[in-house]
Point group: D2
Chain length 297, copies 4
């Protein structure tokens, strides 16, 4: 199978369950919503050594937000709900409540699982807080130095999916990077998925475990490393390929992650110099979800 | 004392010691250096509930970097060196090594305290790594999917200063925000200091402890909250003030933090509508460093 | 009538016919599409003293472009088709053909009026050009220093509308600016309309002609100038208003401009501190199109 | 000669005299200064078909501006002073006076040639204007919808230099583009020079005149076109080169342009994949200024 002359390998991305909270941040304009979202989702690429996986899902204009201001949906992901509740309290409390002009709303109001993060944050007001309502949602008004911070009572979460992925092979590093960047932009138009790595892109796709340094949980996937392709037996890197970028995609559902993989691949192949698309799987050891590229496209 | 007609209160900012690592990230262009820096310094506003305080110090062009590419200095701060070493390994390993086109260099090569973070990160290459040298600095070349990641062997740290600050009083929220934004931009021209909060600005300046909710370490400083000025006895908010933004400044030295406070104040007062500048102190209970505003200006 | 507590005055915006060309620029990523679009639409706020009115309509991802790359629609407007053809040739030839990684496609392929701008630009190749086809569109491949520039044979134009507008009254300058900025962002989500002034916003809304300096075609509309409200008889500025920003909207049709006015107003009123929305008209002397605000909302 | 392993050809850039006005725009923050500067310098790449050559010189923080706010220096260039005065009036009047929160100051107060552009713009106020002083500079306060616009009485100009240049040869298009982008960023740190093309970069470097289409003043320089290197006799494109980007540099003096060329080249060669640097000259027919690359470096 190929799209625009780029081979799509007949393989699948392997993914695993994770707990996902989804939060809507609004602000005076898009810029300040983004500033808060970047702070709140930073240090959040992989649960291997970060306290959560987190990222920006999509930006929305005021006609889609409870307070009519521009906003951004973020997702925060951990393996268990207890860790997720802590991360929500810490990241919203330290990185959004503190950010200029923001307000916080529930991004999954219909989910069964709800955390009372807003209720807990109101104690910051030390007794000066009050209950309020925004577009029918129960919220709190917290007097602060900049004025009143509005936060919804509850923030919802679901069992979602982590580790959806695909790989972009290209002739030159910055060609591959442009393709990856366009894939991330296409995914940010969709609902329900995030790409938690820096700028949405993984420069250092890994394999579980190690050949040599057994004390590590994950190491470079040498068969996909272009600079040593001549030295690695069984390399997956063709002669005309000099870079591989991976996109890792988390989301609130299998459907959201599948759609994001498809949209990302379609965006990536339009860059002249992209040679091949494939995906990462590890014999089913990593997780129960399989995203077959040909089925998605 | 006043500058451009804005009163500078005769008071001081109170600050405390912290351990500070300083790291130089370079990348293919300024954009990708910034992407990596934002991820690596995210979830890093206050050690009250973040694993570190972290931020961007300044951007540099290639004539100031070992590999000639555009770069950005970041700082990561924790109370102890053990926590700092862990944070460096986690934040550089998960948020910069994984980011497109980056390399990592020591931002404090002359400091006494040096961590072998680069040495530890090289194990990611699972045996395919090699030693190299960049502009006389001992470094490692780590083959990855995007090509070779370069990281210097050591990353240095010093005992620095946290909690330097000043407050901007303005007539209207977005006036105060513009003043604060310009102050952050002026500080980013300087060496040695960071403003770790979102976009460099604190919307929710706090007091230590609480009046009512004693279980909290920090709560809103109600005397500086404009929306309740009519209800709070002893409010510090004049009638014509409707917003207060705080800048919190960390740095590698007392001198760096003092210069940043001065530059920030000078930038802030140029915004029409700024009414007063003051600073936060808590009777010397918070820390040993005192930054007297009048002395700095 | 009010929305979110903001009065919408019962009045109309007056607008006039103009010729509008619509062009799709694609590029390696969104950033470089925007760079080319800003250059091509610069010096293009008002035909009073600019050679054209021009602006960015909307950004699109690759699934909406002929070559699958990210793109941006721009519009260029003049009173006559002859001037429009010259402006197209000059602005596309000097500002897009010269810009990194761009390609140019017809934004109005079904319009009756078509200019052969692509055909004319191919002569730049000095005999090395060739005809090609992109997604069924006749185009030319022009070898250049960066590689091949692709430009579609024809670029279409229609009789559209210029001067659609509304005014935002707010309590403080930067409050009004945030409201205006959010209005522009909301309008950029729509098809068919542009806001040709800098950043989409007019700081200096004018009246036709002059009271004192009769040699000028347009001067400040003193009844809407907050800083002199106490001195101007018949001022339209209420006591609590200290800024007015105008949005001027051009578009390919009456319908497109009307939808843009409505979306812009809805976005603007969500900013706390906006006091009133009105619109500019001059007794029908300016043009035949009337956009009644209450009818649109 | 080589730098970082990149060959610098022993050749010179040929440049010619032009008249240059230099203007300082300040605004509420850097963003709005940039918005005004981009509008005012747009449609300004080459006098071949644009009414002026124009670009951003450098951004400055408030400690370098008369009103203490963030600012940006722009340059506007034409062959004669008469055209320059018209362009100044049109571009400042239509693109900066109209832009949110801006003020305008003289960027060459010590130049012999001074235009009274500020004096002329004050008539927009239709009699409500007044004279004022900012940091010792004579200026006007023009009441407008957003408040008062401040413009200095005079704007200065000098005879400067246009067409300074160098070429970047690279292995792949986006590699060359990153190198060019970093060169532009390095030049924007300097005083006195601009890079008037889109994003500062020329994708379509030309030769004067034509081989085939004699009616054109400038056509593609086929000897520097990588996509046809196999068909062009005497091609200058080596086998491993697939892109050439040119930087064109104007400036207020020979010295400023020379320093910009040197800084740009040093920044460009740090990008891995850059193969060679050269420059454009046409046997001295284009202009009297010669910038020898080896002498500059």
């Amino acid at each position: 199978m190929d799209i625009k002359g780029v081979e799509i390998e007949d393989t699948y991305a392997e993914a695993f369950p994770i707990k996902v909270a989804r939060v809507l941040i609004t602000a005076a304009n898009k810029h300040w919503a983004e500033v808060a979202a970047l702070e709140a989702t930073g240090f959040g690429t992989s649960v291997i050594m970060c306290p959560a996986e987190a990222g920006i899902e999509k930006f929305v204009t005021g006609d889609e937000t409870p307070d009519g201001r521009p906003g951004v949906y973020i997702q925060i992901c951990t393996f268990g709900y207890k860790a997720l509740e802590e991360q929500l309290l810490e990241r919203i409390g330290q990185c959004v409540l503190t950010a200029p002009t923001t307000a916080v709303f529930n991004g999954l109001p219909d989910a069964e699982k709800q955390f009372d993060t807003g209720f807990k944050l109101k104690f910051f007001a030390d007794g000066t807080e009050s209950e309020t309502e925004v577009a029918g949602r129960k919220a709190y008004k917290i007097p602060m130095m900049e004025g009143d911070f509005i936060v919804e009572h509850s923030l919802g979460a679901v069992e979602g999916v982590a580790g959806g992925n695909f790989f972009i092979f290209a002739d030159c590093q910055l060609t591959g990077l442009a393709a990856a960047e366009n894939a991330v932009a296409a995914i940010q138009e969709l609902e329900g998925s995030i790409t938690p790595f820096p700028g949405g892109i993984v420069a250092s796709g890994s394999k579980p475990g190690a050949n040599k340094y057994k004390f590590l949980k994950a190491t470079a996937n040498e068969k996909f490393c272009p600079s040593i392709k001549d030295k690695v037996e069984g390399t997956e890197i063709p002669a005309d390929v000099n870079v591989v970028y991976e996109l890792v995609i988390n989301g609130t559902s299998v459907d959201a992650v599948g759609k994001a993989i498809a949209a990302g691949i379609k965006a990536a192949v339009a860059t002249h110099g992209v040679k091949k698309i494939t995906a990462g799987n590890y014999g089913g050891n990593l997780g129960p979800h399989k995203f077959n590229l040909h089925d998605l496209l």
